[in-house]
Amino acid sequence: MVGECIALAIVAAISSHAQAQPSVVGVPLVPAKRAMTTVQVTGSTATLVTGAGVAGSVDDEAALAALAGASAQPASNTPPLAAEQLDDLRREYNGASEAQRQNLRAYFTDMGVDIKKLLARPGEAAAPDSQSLAQAIRAIEFTRTPQSVLAARSTIGFAPPPKPAATDFAATATWLQLQVFAGEWTALGDALRALPSADAIAAYTQILQTINRSQRGDPNRPADPALLPEEVLAIADAAPEELSDWQVTILAQLLKEAATKYSSAAMLQTLSADTRMFGKQDAAHRERTVKFLVAAGMALDAAEYFPDLAEARELSDAAALVNYGRYHEDFAASTRAGDDGSSHLRTAWSLYCEAALIGGAEASLRQAAMRRAIDLLPSMPPALASAWLKQIFANPTLAPAALEIIALKAVSIRGGSMASEARAQAILTMKESVDTLLAETGIDIRLVRVPLRMLTTALIGEVETALDGSADGNRRGRGQAMPHEMELLLRAMPSEQWMAALEPSLASRAYRAAIRLAVGADEIDVAIDSLAHAVKRFPEQAQPLANDLLTGWEKRLAPQSLYPDEDQMMFIGFARDGMTSAPLTRGRQRRNLDRLARLMFVLEDVGVDPRRLPAVAHVFHSCHGMTEVFTRAGITSVFGPLNTLAAVTAAGLADQMRSGLSGQWSDRKAQQAAGMKRSPEAITQLVTTGYALAIELIEQAIAQDPKSWRYAVTKAGLTYDRVQYIQDQKKQDFAAYNQFRKEAFEAFAQTAERYGEIVSAGDQRDDASVYLAWFSAAVGATELNYLTRDDLLIEGSPQDDQIDLIRKAIQKLPGDLAARHIAAFTHEINGTLNRLEPSVKPRIVKHAMRIIGDHPAGAALRRLTDLYQDLMRDEIKLRLTIDGDDRVGTRERFGATVTLRFTDEVDRETGGFSRYLQNDVWARVGNSYRPMNYRDLLKKSLESSFGEHFEVESVGFFEALAPPMPVREAGADGWLEKPVAYIVLKATDPSVDRIPEVSMDMHFNDTAGAVVLPVLSNAPQIDAAQSSGPRPVENLKVVQTVDLRDLDSSQKDHAVVLEVHADASGIVPELEALLPDFRTALAGYEVAKNGIEVRAASILENDTGTSGRSMYSWVPAPPSQYIEADASGTYRLPSERSWLITYTPTSAATGHAFTFPTLNAKLQGTLVSRQFSDMDIETVTTASVPIRPHVFSRTLIFSASGVAILAGFVFIAIRRRKSVASSDTETTLTRVTPMSVITALRRIESERASSLSANDHASLIAEITGLEEQYFGLHGAGADTAPRNGEAHAHLREALDRWGARTTTRTS
C-alpha cells in the first residue's frame, strides 16, 4: 500500500486491448463504444467500477499491463484507442493530482509508455506543464457528477488535503476542483478571493462553465451537478467579484435545475435575509435578484423584489414590465390563480404588449415582449389582439419584426410538443395576425415576403401533416385529423390577398393544400371556390387540382375503413376519432350532384373538359346513395347528353354501374339496411332500367373506341350480369337463359381474343384483367366479392367448360406471353382471395388451379389446394352410420349417428372439433371475431340434408367436450373419432334406398384468411320397403303407472288411465312392440281408437351446447362420464317416449283386477309398475292390482231398480200375509230380555187382540203387567226376588213362546 492512487482509464482501451489479449485481462468486458469503467487502483488490486456498480476485480498488474499494452504503441503509431477515448483519458489525467500523475507516469514508464506522448493531440508536442494557475485551471473541468462528488467527499473525509502551495498551479487547480466536487463553497470562496484577481476570475469562470456540463461529454446523458438551491446561492457568493449577467444566467440555470429536484424554500429564506450577491439591500441587488429568479422560472418568488409598477411605467422600464408580465403569466398557470387565471393572463399579455410598444426600450427586450405577447395571442380576445396587432403592424419597424416572430414561431411550432389541435389554434392566430398586417394599407409587401413565405410554408406543412400524417404520431399516421383541427386549419388557410403576395411556386402548393383541406373538412363548396381561384391563377394546373379535389371528395363520400382488420378495433375500442361519415340521404345526394355540376362548370370555364377526368365517374358514383341506381337524368345533369360523353367517362360510368348493379343496387337486404322500402318489383324495375342504361353507355364508349378490349370486357360483364339477374327473377326459361349465357361468354371469349391480338402485337402491356373478368363470370359473378355459395359454379354444369376455354385462350398467346399471363392471372387471384366469402374460396381456388395448372406462380394456390384436399378428403371424414339393421321400414323410426373422424395431426393443429357442437363460440370470421352458433348451424345443415323422403324427427348432439377416441380408418392407425349427432329419422316412402349424404361446414384459417370447407359424409344404403322390427336399444327402462281413481267417476266415464314412460339408449320401440299385451289389461275395458295419446319423442342430451367462452351464460360443469360406443362401435344417445293409454268400459263385466302389461320378451330392460293412491304413487310389485267394481254403473242401477221394484211387489204380497211372518219375528228374538219380551207381548196384545178371547186377553195383560212389576216395578220382587240370569231368560222365553203359540194357532 504505497498510498492510494486513482487511475482513470477508458474501458474501451482495456476492451480493445482485451480483444487482442484476452488472456491478460481475463474478465468479460462490455462493448467498447458505451462502456466506461473507472479503474480504481488500491494497493495490489484494481476494481473495475462501471456505471452500474462494481463489476469485478482484476489484478492491478494485469490492469496496468492492459493500459500499458494499450499505450505501448508509439505515439506516432496510433494506439488502439479512439480519439474520444484519448480525450477522456486526457481529461482524467489532467484532472488528477500531481501525486497521482506521478504514480501514473511511473507505472506507464515501467510499461514503456510515455503517457504525455500518448495524450498529446495530433500535431502537438507533449502536454507541457502549466505556466500559470489560469492555464492549469482551464485544463481541468469542474463537472460535478454523483460519482465525483462522492469520491471527493470520501477523499476529504479520510484526510482533508492541505491547500497546496500557491506556486503549484496544477495542485492548486486540483485542490479547487476537489472543493467544488466536495461542495466546500466557503473554502472555495475564500480560496478564490485569496487568489490574484485574474486567476480568481478565470477559475470562477471555468467553474461556472463546466460545473453543469453533460457527463463525460455525452449529450444524451443529462447533467446532474447534484446541487441544492441554497448551494447555488453559495456558489454565487463564492464569486470573486460582482456577478456579470451571463454568470447570473448560468446560476439561474443551476437554480432552475436544482429547484426541480429540491425545495427552494430554504434558498428563498436565505435570499430574503440578503446574501453577498442577492437581496434587497440596494437597487443593484434587487435587480440582480429579480433577474436571477425570473431567469430561474421563479417569477412568483421574485415579485417581492420587483420595483413599483407605476414607477416602472413612468420610467418606461420595459424589463420591469416584462418581469411583471412573467409574474402574472406564472401566476395564471399556478394553482393559486383559481378563477382569476384568465385575468392574470390578460394582464400579462397587456404588460408584454406595453413593453413591446415602448419605443426607447432595448430592441431585444421589445422583441422578447412581443414574442411572449404573440405566444399568448391565441388566448386573448380577438378584438384586443387585433387592436394590438394593428398598433404593431402600424409601426414600420415593429411590423417586420413581428412578422418574423410569427414566422419563426410557426416554423418552430411543428417541432414542439404541442397538441395538434392547440397547434392548429396557434397557427390560426398567426394567420389572423398576418391578415391584420395585410389589411394595413401602405405595407410594403416586399419587406414581409420572406417571413410570409416561411409562415405559409409552416402552415401548409401543418395542413399536409394533418392530411397525410407524414411526420406525426399514430393518428396522424393514418392521415386523419380531428374535425376541429381541420376546421381551425381551414380557417387558417391564406386569403386571396395573402396568396397574391406569395411566389407562384408556393401559392400553387398553398392552393392545393387549401383544396385538399377543404375536401378533408367536407367543405366541398369551399374547395370548389379555392379551385376556382387556383385555376384562374394557374390554369395549366386545373386538371391535377381538379383531380385532387375529385379524388379527395370521393374518399369523403365513400370512406374506406380506417381499420381493415376489425381485430384491432377490439383493442382500440372507442378510440376511433376519424370524422364520421354522414349517411347519404336523398337530399344530400342531390346537393352533391349539384356541387359536381358546379365543379364541371368551373372547370369548363378555364377550358378543361371535366368529363375526361378519370376520377369524375367515381365521384359521380360516390355522390349517389349506396342503393341508388344511376339514372339517365342524373347523368345528363352532370355530364350533359349521353351522346356527348367521352368514351372514358361513359365506360367509367358503365363500370360503376356494373359494380353497383351486381352488388347492392339489386340486393333487397342492402336496400332495406339503407332504409329503402322499395318493393321487389320496384327494385327489379330499377335494376332492369339500370342495366339498359349501363349497356347503352358502354356501347357508346365502344362506338368511340371500337378497339378497346377493356370496354368490351365491361360490356361482356354487363351482359352476363343482366342475363343472370333476369334468370334469378325467374323470368325466362332455362334453355333460353342458357342460350343468353352462352352468348355472354362468347363475348368474353371474343374480347380475350382481341386482347390476345393486341398484346401479341406489342401494343399492350400484360394485363390479365380480361381473363379474370371472364373467370369471375364463369364461376358465378363478375364481382367475386359478391359471390355466394349458391351462385358458385358447379362442376359438370354447362358453364363449367368456360374454365377450360379461359385456359386455352391464355395458352394460345404466343411465346412466353402465355406463361406471363398465367402468372399475372395467378397474382390477380391471390389478391382477390382475402376478399372472398370464406365458403366460396376453396372452389374458386380449385377452378383457378384448372387454369394455372403447374405454373410456378401458382405455388401458393397449389399449397392451398393441397391443404383443402387434406382437410376435406384425406384427413377429415364425416361418417353417417345407421343404428341397427338397414331394413328401416317405411314411416318407422330409426336412428343414424354422425361421427367425425380425423387424424391426430388435424386435431392438434386445428384445436379440435368441440366447437362444432357448441353455440356462442367466439371465432374469427373474415376480418372480425364474432360469436358463432356452430351447433345451430350444424343442426340446420343436417336437417336440410335429408331431402323430402325423410322425416327428421329429432337431432341430438353428443357432449362437446367428450374426448375423441382412437379408431382405425381404412385400416390405418392414427385416427380419432368423435361422435357428433344422433338423428331420429323416418323414411316416408318405401322406394327410398339410401340416406343422402350430409354436409358439415368447417371453419379454418389459411394463409389468405378464413375459409369454410364443406365436409361430406357417406350415403348409406337402406331398405325402406322392409322392416327389421324394433331398433337396437340399451338400458331400456319402462315405467307404467295406472290410475284407477276414476273408476267410480261417472263424470269421467269410469276410465282407467295407464301412463307409460320409456327411455333407453337408442330408439325406444313403439308401444305395441314395447308392451304387446297392454290392450287386455282389464277385462270389461278396451282401448278406444283414439285412446292412446302419443307424446312427442325426444333425444336426451347431456350437454347444453353452450360454449364456456360465452361471456354472460352460465356453463354447467362437464359430465363426469361421456357416452361411449357400444360393442359394435355405434354411438347412440338416450331417447325417451311416453304414452297415455285410456281404457274405457265396454258392456262386458268388469274384471276384478288390472293386470299390468308386460315387457316384450324380445326386449332387454326393466319394467316398473306403479299405481296412484289418492295423490301418491305407489310402486306395485304384483302382476296386477285388484279393483272394486263400481256399484253405480248404469247396468247396476238398472238391475238395482228392477230388483227394488220386484221387491216392492213381493213386499205387498207378503204384507197381505204378514201375520205368519210376523209371529216368527216376535218369537225369534235374538236377544231375550225383560224389555224385549214385554215389548213383544205388548205388540201381540195390540196387533192380535182380535184373535184372543177376553180371558186370554186379560191374562196377557195381566202377565205383561206382572212381568213389568216383576222386573221394573218399585214394589216388585226387585233384585232380590228376580230370577237369576238363566232362570229369567227361561221364564221370559217361556212366556213369549206360550203367547206366540197361542196367537199363531188361533190365526191359522
Partner: protein
Amino acid sequence: MITLSRMAWGCWAVVPVALVTYHYGPGQTAYVQDRAAQLQNAAVHSQASAQTAQDGAYEKHLAAIEARRSAFLDPTAEHTAAATAATTAEQTMYATAASEWKVTAERYQEVLTTLGDASPQDASAVRWSKARASVRAGDIWTGIDDLELLVDELEAEPAVDQPLARAAREELATAYYYGARLLRLSGMPAQEWRVESGKARQHFRYLAEQAKRGDSAESAADAINDQRNLELVLNLEQSTLVDLQGKAMPKDSPCSGSCNRPAKKPGKKKPSGDARGAGVAAEIPDGW
C-alpha cells in the same frame, strides 16, 4: 171395388213422395256419377286424341332425329332444310300433343270437381289419369306433386286399390324420368337433374322388387318391365349429354317442359317438444 180403387189412388199418391225422396237421396249420387261419367267419357276421348297426337309427335321426333343426323353427316342445303323442316314439324306436333294433353288434364279436373267426395275410389283413378295427362302436357312438376300425394294416400290404406297404387307409382317414376331427362337436355347442372333421376331410379327399383315377390305371370311381366325402366334411368345418368341428344326421347314424354323445378325441399322436420308433460309418469320429486 171401392176399396181397391182407394188403394190404387193411395199408391199413386205415394209415388211422387217416393220420387222426391229418390231425387234428394240416392238420385243425387246417381246424377253426380252420371254427370261424372259423361265428363269422363269426354276426357277419355280427349285422352285418346292426345295419345294419337303424341304418337304422331313421336313419329315426327324420330323423323327429325334422322333428318338432323343426315344433315350432320352430309350438311347439304337440302339436308339442312329437311332437318329444319322436320324439326319444325316435330315441334309443332309436340305442341299440339301438349295442348291436347292439357285439355285432357283439364277435363279430368272437371270430373274430379264434379265427383267431389261422392266416390273416393273413382276419384283416385281419375286423379291418376289427370296427373298422367299433366305430365305429358309438360306440366311435369304439377303432375309429380299430384302423383306423390296420390301414392301417399293409396299406400296409407293398403287395402284400397293395390293395382292403382302401383300404377300411380309407375307413373310417378316415369314422370321423374321425363323430368330428369328434360332438365339434363336443357343444360341444368348435374346436381339438379340427378336428384330427379335418383328418385326415378328408386321408384323403379322398388316396383321391380315388389313385382318379383309376386307369383303371377302379370307380376313377372311387371318385374321385367320395371327392371328395364330401371336400366333406362341408369343409362340416363351414365350417358353423356351428346349421346342423350342423339337418342330418341321416350314415346310418351313431352318435348319440353317447365324447368323451373320447385326448390329443393328440406328434410321434413317434426316439431320437437318436451315429452315430459304434466301428468306423465316421471319421477315425482320431493316436496309433493
